[in-house]
Symmetry: C2
Subunit: 211 residues, 2 copies
């Protein structure tokens, strides 16, 4: 089976420099020192190649101002600015289900800062949930390489606690209680659809119980 | 009800210059001379505001090479290139259904050139269909302001005819036979979900008939 990785120079947003949580590579992590984003792209490639799901990362939204069109070579963007995204980064379809998520990592060890998320992302996940889509976040503690899938309803709870003056982060304990741990694998690296299968069974049971 | 339009200068890809079908504004079209893309963005905004669906256009994929970080002002992208998208332009969720489509317009009057689409988009729509998503294209004849929704299965048929040496376009007659006309409205401008409702009922009938 062939996998196609994006080629060319990878852009790493330096604007995150002042943030508590950097997307820096953890060189202890696998043979290539991969970021959460790289692991997820590889996982999504695997899902597509094996016909399991069609989930993609959305491109970084950019406001293009000036473009040069040199003769006999590719157009060059000469001036552009980063725009605020209005959605989460990943979406797609899995066996008829609409999948929508955001992925973030922290170098903290005991808590996950909520500043990694933005109000517009929560609003978006709210809208997705209302449309019967499956919304969640994938969070990674880079120091320990632990990865969790947290359904949106729980993130929302911690977010609202913050808005009401509560703590600006989720503790590790809270995350362990309200999320599902995703073991790091070889292929796929982060098999999050296994957790989704589990959540769907739970959802079905609930509906049968209530019906 | 408030609508939020994208602000700032709009980028119009000049690289389409040599293509038969330009994304030029039709100034006879409504009060503001809107392109198909603008009409669809407005429609999608309307769907979100009214809680009908959550469907967005994906950002243009760009390979960023150089970024400047001036003091006290926003980061400026100084060198970047357009990348080939690996999906269609629009996707989202409507009442639990995964929606995925591409939108194109032509200034031709009697046929729609298939060069408006690319193999990777058809591959993507194939994958989406296999995952039980709803894939289609929205095509517009800008001269007559006629808009059609063509389910992917029909586009695929014309595409394969071309690959087998057949004509490189779909005739207007073919489009009228295998698509659904979308009347241009005021709010929303292009109510394509009404067609989807219709297709879903047909699909349900078929399933009941076969079951």
């Amino acid at each position: 089976m062939e996998f196609h990785y994006p080629n060319g120079k990878k852009f790493s947003p330096k604007s995150n420099k002042n943030s508590q949580t950097k997307k820096e590579k953890s060189f202890s992590h696998g043979k290539r020192g991969m970021t959460l984003e790289e692991d997820l792209n590889e996982t999504n490639d695997y899902y597509i190649q094996t016909g399991k799901a069609v989930i993609h990362k959305k491109p970084v939204p950019v406001q293009i101002v000036t473009v040069d069109y040199p003769k006999r070579s590719a157009a060059v963007i000469k001036e552009a600015y980063f725009k605020q995204a209005s959605t989460t980064d990943y979406n797609g379809v899995y066996n008829g289900y609409y999948i929508d998520f955001e992925a973030k990592e922290t170098r903290n060890r005991t808590s996950f800062p909520l500043q990694n998320f933005h109000q517009h992302q929560l609003d978006h996940m709210d809208q997705v949930t209302a449309q019967k889509g499956i919304a969640f976040v994938i969070i990674r503690f880079s120091a320990t390489e632990e990865i969790f899938l947290m359904p949106y309803e729980h993130l929302k709870r911690y977010w609202e606690r913050m808005l009401q003056g509560g703590r600006k982060s989720m503790t590790k304990d809270e995350i362990e209680t309200s999320s599902h741990s995703i073991p790091l694998g070889l292929q796929p690296r982060i098999d999050y659809l296994k957790i989704i299968d589990h959540l769907l069974i739970e959802l079905l049971k609930e509906r049968n119980h209530n019906g």
